[in-house]
């Protein structure tokens, strides 16, 4: 029986942490769950848009010598498809989910820097929307998602399409780096007392590794795309060989980012899998320590592979062998994780629900994609397979198999936490079955097409090349994938309002996010828990069970030490504010303006500076109250 005082406290806690209602709430929300839900919806919308573009591609390629799309349109469409899926879906969706789950999994009331988190979302959204607006006005980029120079230079792509593309990179990289900073700080400094690094869920480990990788990988593409923009805008000639520039410089910089990016997409799903396998095998993952070491090893090795995208250039053979060795070696940590999951399934008691089905699908598909990856790591084989449909097959096996299958699994698993409702199990099974079959029908034939000599990025092929049957089959499979995604959307729509009520812990899982109501209250935890085990909900309660004394009137959080999560100090997080939104608009004007004139960098800097100054303007009242609550240790 809760006393009136407790109920009052809870009500006050809710008011303190809630975002304001109405239209002000739309632009000034900073609660990590609100931001994350918007982020997820936006990335999913981009996923659907990218998928529709893929259908157009498959429609064009279904039959030889088709004229459904012109060469110009086709080039724009495959560029938009790749760009959307890589930059506007795969990387940000993982960060979006992490922004929701990490604080709940580590017993925190918020993410660190909640306003920066909001800014990162807005800037991502504006960048993505800008690219699509350009595309709808027929100014889409058409040089492929890795935009090799000199094709993407002003001389060979004089339109604005590449400028929009390069500026979209700027938007998303700003967003991704800010999210990485938010997540690293949250994970290292805001874990509930007692959650030492050794008690951190594997998903959180995955997010930590990914976020650190973002900080090292993205500066390379920042440099690459900035040099491209200045080459195009003010003729700096970084990539112009006739003036002493180097075209391979772009490839090195881009792939130094681009290969780790694959792991930015792949490592968070490894965390989804560890969560789902543990829950549905009813036991913790076998070899927790090996799993953590494997994640960290993957993070390091991912930076030593980039040259395997460049085997067909004139780099020296001995150097290429080094990258072959590194590319083969990175298979080991992933293999170790797969073996650990199989050992977990082997020794568990399996509850075969939709999330686990998607994970089993992952095993088959990622395994195949990983093995074709070993083939591509080989210099001689790559010289035949590079830039053919074999690579298209491979990358879809690893990205859909390695990321989208676990992502759907994760969505079935955590949807009850996000909404308080269960997704339909029957529809889920249908969706899984259809997705699994259609995926293989769509993408397996592409391996054979590649070996039969079909290059990628061709808008058509001659009838007598012998590629017709497999292309048609692949297009039929693509249609099946679309139906499967449609089933998913129907399932979400139906369950959002009418699904069975989930309760706090519908799967009897072991991690902290399942200890709070579904959907969680604004402050996440009514009382901040103290953690005594890896799977706290599976262990008998221990003492002390929670922390007392945190303010309910202010957004007060606990800061703990990095390794052992010992209590360190209390901190007030800032309240909701529209300034991140306004600053994001000002930044968008700056970025888009600079496509049209270098002077935009000068003049549009003024509103950005003004917005940021007002954002960080200290409030006298807050400062005084904070000083008043300060207690000497």
């Amino acid at each position: 029986m809760k006393t009136k005082a407790v109920i009052d406290d809870l009500a006050e806690l809710e008011t303190t942490w809630a975002d304001p209602p109405g239209w002000m709430g739309v632009i000034s929300a900073v609660n990590h769950k609100t931001i994350s839900c918007r982020f997820m919806v936006a990335t999913f919308a981009f996923f659907v848009a990218g998928g529709l573009l893929a259908l157009l591609i498959r429609l064009q390629l279904a039959l030889p010598s088709a004229t459904f799309l012109s060469a110009e349109k086709y080039n724009q469409i495959f560029t938009m498809h790749g760009t959307t899926m890589m930059f506007l879906f795969a990387v940000p969706v993982m960060q979006a989910i992490a922004i929701y789950l990490v604080p709940l999994m580590i017993g925190a009331r918020s993410v660190a820097f909640p306003r920066m988190n909001a800014f990162a979302f807005w800037i991502f959204l504006f960048g993505g929307v800008m690219l699509y607006v350009a595309f709808f006005f027929d100014r889409g980029p058409d040089t492929g998602w890795f935009a090799y120079v000199p094709l993407s230079s002003f001389k060979y792509s004089p339109g604005k399409g590449v400028d929009f593309w390069a500026q979209m990179i700027t938007f998303t990289e700003v967003s991704a780096m800010m999210e990485a900073i938010v997540l690293i700080t949250t994970i290292l400094k805001m874990r509930a007392p007692g959650m030492s690094l050794a008690r951190m869920p594997l998903f959180v480990w995955g997010v930590l590794v990914t976020s650190v990788m973002v900080l090292f990988a993205l500066p390379a593409v920042v440099l690459a795309s900035t040099a491209l923009i200045t080459d195009r805008l003010v003729d700096t000639r970084f990539y112009a060989p006739e003036h002493g520039g180097d075209v391979l410089l772009w490839q090195h910089l881009f792939w130094f980012f681009g290969h780790p990016e694959v792991y930015l997409i792949f490592i968070p799903p490894l965390g989804f899998i560890s969560s789902i396998v543990a829950t549905f095998a009813r036991r913790p993952i076998v070899g927790y320590r090996a799993m953590v070491i494997a994640l960290i090893a993957t993070g390091f090795l991912a930076f030593g592979l980039w040259v395997h995208h460049m085997f067909a250039t004139d780099l020296p053979p001995l150097g290429k062998i080094f990258f072959t060795a590194a590319s083969l070696m990175i298979a080991l940590p992933t293999a170790v994780q797969i073996f650990c999951w199989i050992a977990t399934l082997w020794s568990g008691r399996l509850w075969l629900r939709t999330p686990l089905l998607f994970i089993l699908g992952f095993f088959a598909i990622l395994l195949l994609g990983g093995l074709t990856g070993l083939m591509l790591a080989s210099v001689p084989l790559d010289l035949q397979l590079h830039d053919t449909y074999f690579v298209v097959a491979h990358l879809h096996y690893v990205l859909l198999g390695g990321a989208v299958f676990p992502l759907f699994g994760a969505f079935y698993y955590w949807f009850p936490k996000f909404t308080g409702r269960m997704l339909s199990e029957t529809l889920g099974r249908w969706q899984f079955g259809l997705f699994f079959i259609a995926f293989n029908v769509a993408f397996f034939p592409m391996h054979i097409l590649g070996l039969q000599g079909m290059p990628r990025r061709v808008y058509t092929y001659p009838a007598d090349a012998g590629w017709t049957g497999l292309n048609l089959l692949s297009s039929i499979g693509a249609l099946g994938i679309a139906v499967s995604v449609l089933l998913f959307i129907i399932n979400v729509m139906r369950s959002w309002r009418g699904g069975a009520l989930a309760g706090a812990d519908p799967w009897s899982a072991g991690t902290l996010e399942w200890s709070v109501a579904s959907p969680p209250p604004s402050a996440n935890f009514n009382v901040v828990p103290v953690v005594h085990a890896l799977d706290p909900l599976w262990e008998p309660p221990a003492s002390p069970s929670h922390v007392t004394g945190l303010s309910t009137r202010y957004r007060e959080i606990l800061i703990t030490s990095i390794v052992d999560a010992d209590l360190d100090h209390r901190l007030w997080l800032p309240a909701s504010t529209p300034w991140p939104f306004i600053a994001a608009i000002a930044t968008t004007i700056l970025f888009i303006g600079s496509i049209f004139s270098p002077w935009a960098v000068v003049w549009a800097m003024l509103p950005v500076a003004a917005a940021c100054t007002l954002w960080f303007w200290p409030e006298r009242g807050m400062t005084e109250q904070r000083a008043a609550t300060e207690v000497a240790p």
Partner: protein
């Protein structure tokens, strides 16, 4: 066959669609057609026409076998785990007991699997190194030398045979003598292209500002199709080239003909009128090695145009109708191409075509 599928699908006749799909599956399972049967030349990495592609195919077969083994083993272990593990539900008490002997057994299994995986990876690396060495050791004494320039979107080839001292230029069609290596040095003056003739060897990029070098040797006579493999803009798709691997005597005959000058048309003939049209309309961009035509290099050298099998970088067969269409309106056949639409009176066009047909 494809027209049949297309027709079936357009008609939407369910029986025909089902039949078409069944045919497709059968066709997929059936052996790949041999290159002799395809008119445009083979373009297939698993039908080697030269020693290098054969080396790579050998590595491919070994790698495929090893990977299949791993696939079956790991997926098998996963399926057995799912099949034999007892079933649980949400009410099943989680198994969080202290790690015991069973946990140790499981970890040992993981460790051994990882050791096997590492051994497999090392054997792959060894295979790569040996194949890479075999590829690099292609003997190149007395090799034919070809300078290949990539253009958006066609191939310019300049031959130099150190044995016969022959020099000549051609485009979009390489002839190679069977059994003799060719050292091809490659340049690009615009964007990155990539030479890929899968029946002979893997691909190598043509990189602006750099010179790359690839060695090719055809060991079986045949017609091999190659295609630009690095996305190079609007008509990347339509940047193909043919490699004709000829027996040495036949090659020698071809090469000798390529060094000849284009014939001077007899005075007053329709062909001579055609030559006048050529000089007036085409010679700004296209070279013919006979005066008074110049040595323009914007478009392909046409000295022996009529001896080639295709035009427009492998896009169209080199037949009178296609050639006429290409001259009159190239931009609508291959949008983005540099060649403009040439407005010619019908008589002038016929004369020009007659002249071009003498360029054997």
């Amino acid at each position: 066959m494809s027209d049949y599928y297309a027709a079936a699908i357009i008609r939407g006749n369910a029986r025909h669609v089902a039949l078409a799909i069944a045919c497709l599956l059968l066709e997929t399972a059936a052996p790949l057609p041999s290159h002799a049967q395809t008119a445009i030349g083979a373009q297939n990495a698993v039908h080697p026409g030269g020693i290098q592609a054969a080396h790579i195919l050998q590595l491919w077969n070994g790698t495929l076998a090893l990977c299949l083994l791993v696939f079956v083993a790991v997926l098998g272990a996963c399926l057995i785990a799912v099949w034999r593990a007892p079933r649980g539900t949400g009410t099943t008490e989680p198994d969080v007991g202290a790690p015991g002997a069973r946990e140790q057994r499981l970890l040992r299994a993981v460790r051994w699997s990882a050791i096997f995986a590492a051994a497999g990876l090392i054997s792959l690396l060894a295979g790569n190194i040996f194949t890479g060495r075999a590829l690099a050791e292609l003997p190149a004494e007395n090799a034919l030398r070809i300078e290949l320039h990539g253009h958006s979107w066609w191939w310019e080839a300049r031959y130099h045979d150190p044995l016969t001292a022959q020099r000549f230029a051609t485009a979009n069609e390489l002839h190679l003598p069977v059994g003799r290596a060719a050292i091809i040095t490659m340049h690009s003056d615009d964007v990155i292209h990539s030479l890929w003739v899968p029946n002979l060897h893997g691909k190598l990029d043509l990189i602006p500002g750099r010179t790359t070098e690839i060695r090719l040797r055809a060991d079986h006579a045949g017609l091999y199709r190659g295609q630009c493999a690095e996305f190079c803009g609007l008509q990347h798709t339509m940047m193909a080239l043919l490699v004709v691997a000829d027996p040495p005597t036949e090659y020698a005959r071809w090469a000798e003909r390529q060094t000849r000058q284009a014939p001077q048309p007899p005075g007053g003939s329709i062909v001579q009128h055609g030559q006048q049209i050529f000089l007036h309309q085409c010679a700004q961009c296209h070279a013919i090695n006979t005066p008074p035509a110049g040595a323009a290099t914007i478009g392909p050298d046409l000295t022996h145009l009529a001896s080639r099998q295709t035009i427009a970088a492998g896009m169209l067969p080199n037949k009178r109708g296609y050639l006429a269409g290409w001259i009159v309106d190239a931009p609508s056949i291959k949008p983005g191409v540099q060649m403009p639409a040439i407005k010619l009176a019908p008589d002038d066009l016929q004369a020009l075509l007659a002249y071009l047909e003498t360029l054997l």
